[in-house]
Every structure is written in C-alpha cells, then in structure tokens.
C-alpha cells in the first residue's frame, strides 16, 4: 500500500473530550455569524481572551483551509469531513441500511445514529459550498423522517448547497414519501445516485443480499423518475451480472424518466468487497464487449455514460473517452511501472486499498 496524498485525520490534545462537528477558522475577523457550528480558531499564538476555542497546531493548519469542517470523536481525534481544497466532499449520515451488498465499502451497523443527520445539516450550512456535497450511508433514506427533517433544517437556513445522495432507492417505492422528498429536496440542485445491478430480482437480490430489494428499487426508480427527481443510475459489474450490463442500462433508459447520467463503476476492494473479492471481481478484459455495448447506448438515448475507477490499461482504447479520472486525489495510487506509462496523466489509477495492481503501461513504440 502506498501513502495517501492528503491526510484527513489528526490528533489534537486540546480537543480531547469534545464531540461533534466544528468549523475550522484561520483568521478571527471572518467568522460567519450564521454558521450554527462551534468554531475552532487555528492561530500562530493562542490569545487567551478569545471567545472561541483557539489552538496552535501546524500540522492541522497545513492540511486545512479556513472554513473547513472537522468532526471530533471525543478522544482528541479530528477528521476533516468537508474540505475546501478536496476535489470531492462526502458526508455520512447514517450507518444503517436495508441492503447488505456483498461489496459494500461501508458495511452497515444497526446503531442509533440519528445525530449524524444533525451533524451533517449543521456542517453543510456552515460550510456554505457551491460545489456538490455527497451524502452517503448506510442508506440515507432509510429513516424517512430523518431525511425530510434534514432538508427542512437546510431549507430553514436558506441553504442552497447542491447535494448528491447515494441511495438504494427502495424508499421511493412509497409514493407519498417520494412526493414529500421532492418538495423538500428540490429547493436546491440534487441528484440521487441509485444502483441497479440486474434486470431481474434473482441477481440483484443476490448481490445486495436482501430479498425484495429489486422490486422496491424498481418501483422506487419509477416513482422518483416520474416525480422529476434527477437520477444517476449506477451499475457495478461483477461475476454475477457482467453479461447483462448493457441490458440493465438499456432497460433503465427505456423505462425510467429523469435519468441524468449512467455510471459504470469498477469494484472497489474495501469493506465487504475484500472478503467477497474472489467471488465477485472480474477483470474488465472479460467483459470489454459489454462495456462497449453499454457506452454506445449513450448516443442512442442522449444520456452521458461514464466509466469510473477503471485504470485506462484495463479497458479498450475506444473507451478512454468514457473513463472518468474519478478516484479522489488522496485515495488513488499507481504502481511503480506506471511511471513509464505515456497516458498516466489521463489515468485515474487504483484505489489505494487495492491488493494487486496489474498494469500494462502504454509506451511509445520504439
């Protein structure tokens, strides 16, 4: 494993015993009055008369920006959860989920964590971003009251932060909830990322390890789409479903409304995917033709189709234009061979969690 490019977790002795989110400030005079969060001022020297908590910590100072949001665990650990200089910010709002996907990168835990929603809402309002913030879980829509309340708080602060919510879509099978969700959520730009792993319940329910999931997600996709909630459809090819990849996308684009884009995501070797890796992961070379067929559907339906988390040398050259350099700057890695690769600057590399990296660097022909 290689080192990550940007550390996001720090130990700060002075914060021992403090919980929850804080907003990190770098200069005194620019404190946002409206921000509902406690503040932490990082200074060259401590000024004892300050009304807000002030510390001196060069390391934290180096890796944070004015306005970033940190989450304290009560034991002096601060994790930077929203960072102005990151290329993607995501907040976890619950660890609970009604699916148990075999490749879940964030395996769910059945704990009472509703406070996370409050943390997230406060953090978003304080951060005040115009860039998209990701909301993930667990299943963010599992507790319908909590998610509606979350939007209510954001709306009360007149917050307009665009959000991308990663959901299994099952909650939308409830048409009343879908309507309420739309009312609450569409006061800002949102997009819901909903994965669909098969055109039938057999394979989908197997992969998400939950009976009845496919039926719920299908109804959810229909309802959400009909209500005009923008949907990013996600598919992860595995040994179980790679041969129906294009059929899944074709069915989705034929049947659902409001699909804004389709993302094909290569499996990430974290969480449960680690223990199920052998059963699930299939080298892309074995399904190049399905990838190709799928990408072609973009023209036909006028919807953007992208490939995420694919090192370029794992896919055919014709598909480079669909590949997104997606892995966050601080989560990706390249094996040493890549140094000689002529397309490295376009390549997203690997998740740093990966065990074996097979590469075929593209060289100049000598």
């Amino acid at each position: 494993m290689t080192e990550v490019a940007r550390p996001d977790s720090f130990y700060v002795e002075e914060l021992d015993g403090v919980f929850g989110p804080i907003q990190i400030l770098k200069y005194r005079d620019a404190i946002k009055e409206t921000s509902p969060l406690p503040k932490l001022l990082i200074c060259e020297s401590k000024t004892p008369d300050s009304t807000i908590k002030t510390i001196r910590n060069p390391l934290l100072d180096k890796w944070t920006n004015h306005g970033d949001i940190g989450l304290l665990n009560g034991r002096g650990q601060v994790r930077v959860v929203l960072c102005c200089s990151a290329n993607a910010n995501t907040l976890l709002v619950t660890e609970r989920c009604d699916n148990l996907c075999l490749f879940c990168s964030q395996p769910p835990r059945d704990v009472d964590d509703t406070v996370l929603f409050a943390y997230a809402a406060q953090s978003i309002v304080s951060f005040g971003s115009s860039d998209v913030i990701g909301i993930s879980g667990g299943e963010p829509l599992l507790d319908k009251k909590a998610i509606l309340n979350f939007f209510k708080i954001l709306n009360e602060f007149n917050d307009k932060t665009p959000l991308h919510i990663l959901s299994n879509g099952r909650a939308f099978k409830d048409i009343n909830f879908t309507e309420n969700f739309k009312e609450a959520a569409l006061k800002r730009k949102i997009e819901i990322g909903i994965p669909l792993y098969s055109a039938s319940s057999r394979t989908h329910d197997y992969l998400v390890n939950s009976k009845g999931a496919w039926n719920d997600t299908i109804k959810g996709l229909i309802n959400a789409g009909n209500k005009g909630i923008p949907i990013e459809l996600r598919v992860i090819p595995t040994k179980a479903n790679f041969n129906e990849l294009s059929s899944i996308v074709e069915m989705a684009l034929t049947c659902f409304n409001s699909i804004t884009r389709v993302s094909i995501m290569n499996l990430e070797q974290t969480g449960w995917a680690k223990k199920n890796w052998k059963n699930l992961y299939l080298k892309p070379e074995f399904y190049h033709d399905e990838l190709q067929k799928t990408c072609l559907l973009g023209n036909r339906f006028g919807v953007e189709i992208s490939l995420f988390n694919y090192p370029l040398c794992h896919i055919p050259e014709e598909l480079y234009k669909f590949a997104k350099k997606s892995i966050s700057d601080w989560k990706n890695t390249f094996p040493p061979e890549c140094e000689y690769c002529t397309i490295k600057s376009d390549c997203g590399g690997f998740f740093s969690s990966i065990k074996h990296m097979e590469v075929t660097p593209k060289g100049r022909i000598l």
Partner: protein, 467 residues
C-alpha cells in the same frame, strides 16, 4: 429460467422467415423463425438459456416473482414514450405568399403565378402574426417559411425577422426558408449572413425528373439549384442548407445520380420520401407511385449510401434515420409525420397567406381541395380558436387502440396521420390494410430489420446516432 410467464407481445414474420417481436415498452427482438416464437410464447418450452435471458431483460417474459415489477416497467416505458411525443416542440410554418416562379407538376398547394396580387400576407399584419405566435408557443421558436416561393416575398421575411428579433431575442428562434433557390441573389445572401436563417430546398432524383417536375421558364432548375447550394455553402456555411427529395415515377431510376449530386455538392445529409399527393383520387393515381416501386428505389438508394459510408464518405439519409431512432426509443426522434398522438396541431402549425391558421401543411392542402372549413383553427387577427374538429382528430391519433395498429409489431415506433387518412378514407383512422401511410412505414421498418442483420450496416446506422 425454466419457469416463466410471458408478457403481452406483438409479432410479425419478415420475408426471410425471421419473426420480429415487440411489446408496449417498444423493445424489439428478432427470433429465428415462427417456430421459436411458438416455442417461447405459445408452448412455453423454449430451452435456449441465452434467448430466455435476453427475452427476460427486454420485458417479454418474466419469473413469477418479478411479474408485477415487469408490468410496472412496461407501463412506465409506455407512458415515457407517449410523453415524448406529447412534449416535443412545435414547428411554426408561415406562407408569406402563394405566388411561385415554378410550375411543379405535383405541387400540392395550387400555387399561383408570380405576378398575381391578392396572394400575399401583408407586412402590416406582421405585428398580429408575431403576437399570435408568441401566444401559442414558447421559445425557442422553430419557424419555417413556405410557399409558393417565399423568396418572392423576401421583404416580408426581412421585416418579420427584424420585428421578431426585437420581440423574442436572437437566441430564441431559428428560421428556415423552404425554397427552390432559383431567386436567391447577392443581396439575400448578404442579408442572411450572421442571422439565424437557413434554407431547405428540393433536389429530385435525377436531373431529368427534377427539371420535368420543377418547370421554370428557363428549364434549368436543376443546374440552378446546384449552383445556388454551392453558393450558400461557400458564403453562409454548410449547416445553412438542407435538402428534401420527393421521389416520383420519373425519378425511380435516379438513385445513383441523387447520391452523386449530394456528394458533388458536399452535402452530408439527405431526406428522401415518396411523393404523396393531396387531391382527388383520379389525380392521385396518376401522380403517386406505389410504395412497392418506391421501396425498390429506396433499397438501392440506401444500399449505395451505406456503402459510401463504409468506404469512408459520410452521408446520412434522415428518413431512414428517423425510423431507426423510433425503433430505438431515441429521445430525439420526434418527426411530425411519425408520432402518436399525431404531430398535427400539437407539433406543427401553419399560417397561410390569408392569415388563416391550420394544424399542418397537409391540412392546408386538404382545405384548398375540399374547402374543409373545420380545418381552419383560427386567424391571426383574433384569438378565437376553433379546435373542436382538430381535437377530435388528435384524440383519434393514439395508435395503440386503433384497428390494425393495435396488434402491429411496429406500433410503438410508428405514428399516425389523421389528415392523410381523412382525405383518403373520409375519417381520421382509415383502413390500415389499404393505407399508404401504413404501407410505407411498415416497409421501412421491415427494411431496417433486413439491414441491421448485417453488423456492418448496423454499425453505420449506429454511427448516425451521433448527429
């Protein structure tokens, strides 16, 4: 999956024995023969795993457990498709004059000589015209000037453009002038420079046919149109001119020449369809070509075009492409003559030189032949709308519930044309077994399934989807 239920399907045996099936979601599959249709759907004893998987993914069969969701998926796709035809934009056609310098033998609108008076929209009516347009439609506006020969009323077009630009803003409209181009001159070209104005012109299949049909006093319509297309290319840009080809009896041998002409002019698109006249039966018989004859021509034409593409020369035939897109449920396949409910009124409107408003170009022709007043839906000088008859026509133009179409395999891709059927059958639905509309589109859809059997041709058609 050995135990499965079938969902409702429609089917059609192609000439080569293969059988096309489709459903309400408008997905298609081609089975090897009628026996495999029986095996899979009538006897329920298909054992080909790959085929069953594919049929399941395309919503033709389902497991018991998924039945309800598959029905939901089907109905969702069905409504999505109808919604697409309900919400596509409207083309606004304006006939500034009925006068024309050509005497086309198949002219549909009984043009009048270029020097007659009383056949023009007056410039003084432009404010009411603009007022009317902005009331019935929202931006961006797609406007087409038709004739007669609109260039005989170029002053009118100029004034309209200037006033319309002030009213709605330059970025909110686009104008196409449908013209023979014979009257285009330097001042017109200069005026068009930098404006949202393009041209659409007719090129018939072959010089002989072109000049025969498009009689100009000087008899050189064909040479003139070529010269003028080049001129527009050069001065205004390639994207400013499109062509339409109407195939008549005299053009039936002209497929190669038609392609050559387009290629020589550097055109990368063409649009080819058979003549179809709006007139009395005897007249029609004399003029129309049979769909069978047209298809013989068309297949040779398309085969030439596809081979040009395969050898690296890009050329798109849009009539075929529209049908292909309809089969694929592409969102951009909204073609006025091929949608259900019909494009009539909903997606097109025509304002003629008297200020009368019609639901389509064809409605104006039928009106001129029969004096069918109920086809006039209004007038630009007042806000009264006479929609009773037209909404009846539209209400009859869903095709899933009409005889013939209801069990037709192409129903989800096809359209309906109440005005054509009204004039041929006296009512908007007609008898599809005698309908030219039906015969034409069915033949084209059949032809596409013939074509895409060959992967290399399918690749060409898929490549056209980029545009």
């Amino acid at each position: 999956m050995t135990n499965y239920k079938s969902l409702p399907i429609k089917f059609r045996e192609l000439k080569d024995g293969r059988t096309v099936i489709s459903n309400l979601a408008n997905t298609y599959h081609v089975l090897d023969n009628i026996q495999s249709l029986r095996d899979a759907f009538e006897l329920g004893q298909c054992t080909d795993k790959n085929l069953l998987n594919e049929l399941e993914q395309k919503l033709f069969i389902t497991s018991d457990a998924d039945f309800e969701s598959k029905v939901h998926l089907t109905t969702s796709a069905f409504s999505k498709r109808i919604n697409k035809d309900l919400t596509s934009p409207r083309l606004i056609m304006i006939v500034p004059t009925l006068r024309c310098d050509h005497h086309c033998s198949y002219c549909q609108v009984s043009r009048v000589n270029a020097d007659l008076s009383g056949f023009d929209l007056q410039s003084s009516q432009i404010p009411s015209l603009i007022n009317y347009i902005t009331k019935i439609e929202k931006p961006p506006y797609k406007i087409e000037f038709q004739g007669g020969e609109p260039l005989l009323a170029f002053d009118f077009i100029q004034t309209f453009y200037e006033q319309f630009e002030i009213e709605v803003g330059k970025e909110n409209f686009n104008i196409v002038i449908a013209t023979s181009l014979s009257l285009i001159d330097e001042s017109i070209i200069n005026w068009c420079r930098g404006k949202n104005v393009g041209f659409s012109t007719s090129i018939d299949a072959g010089k002989k046919a072109h000049n025969k049909h498009r009689k100009l006093i000087t008899k050189d319509s064909f040479e003139l149109v070529q010269k003028n297309i080049n001129w527009i290319h050069h001065e205004l840009g390639r994207e400013k001119i499109g062509t339409v080809t109407t195939v008549t009896r005299d053009g039936l041998e002209g497929y190669d020449e038609l392609v050559d002409t387009h290629l020589a002019l550097g055109l990368i698109g063409m649009f080819v369809r058979p003549v179809s006249s709006y007139g009395f039966a005897e007249e029609k018989q004399a003029k129309d070509i049979s769909i069978i004859d047209f298809m013989v021509f068309y297949k040779k034409l398309i085969s030439r075009i596809l081979n040009e593409n395969l050898s690296g020369t890009p050329l798109i035939e849009h009539f075929l492409l529209i049908h292909y897109k309809r089969l694929l449920n592409s969102p951009s396949a909204a073609y006025i003559d091929l949608m259900a409910p019909a494009g009539y009124l909903k997606n097109s409107i025509l304002i003629d030189y008297t200020g009368n408003v019609f639901g389509s170009d064809e409605a104006r022709m039928v009106y001129r032949k029969y004096g069918a007043d109920e086809l006039i839906i209004g007038h630009i000088n007042n806000t009264e709308l006479n929609l009773e008859h037209s909404t009846q026509l539209l209400a009859h133009s869903f095709n899933f519930d009409v005889p013939g179409c209801s069990d037709c395999v192409y129903q989800g891709s096809c359209g309906s044309d109440p005005i054509y059927h009204l004039q041929d059958f006296g009512e908007p639905i007609g008898d599809k077994s005698y309908s030219r509309f039906c015969e034409l589109h069915k033949s084209i859809f059949d032809f596409i399934f013939e074509l895409i059997r060959d992967q290399k041709y399918k690749n060409v058609l898929d490549g056209w989807l980029n545009d």
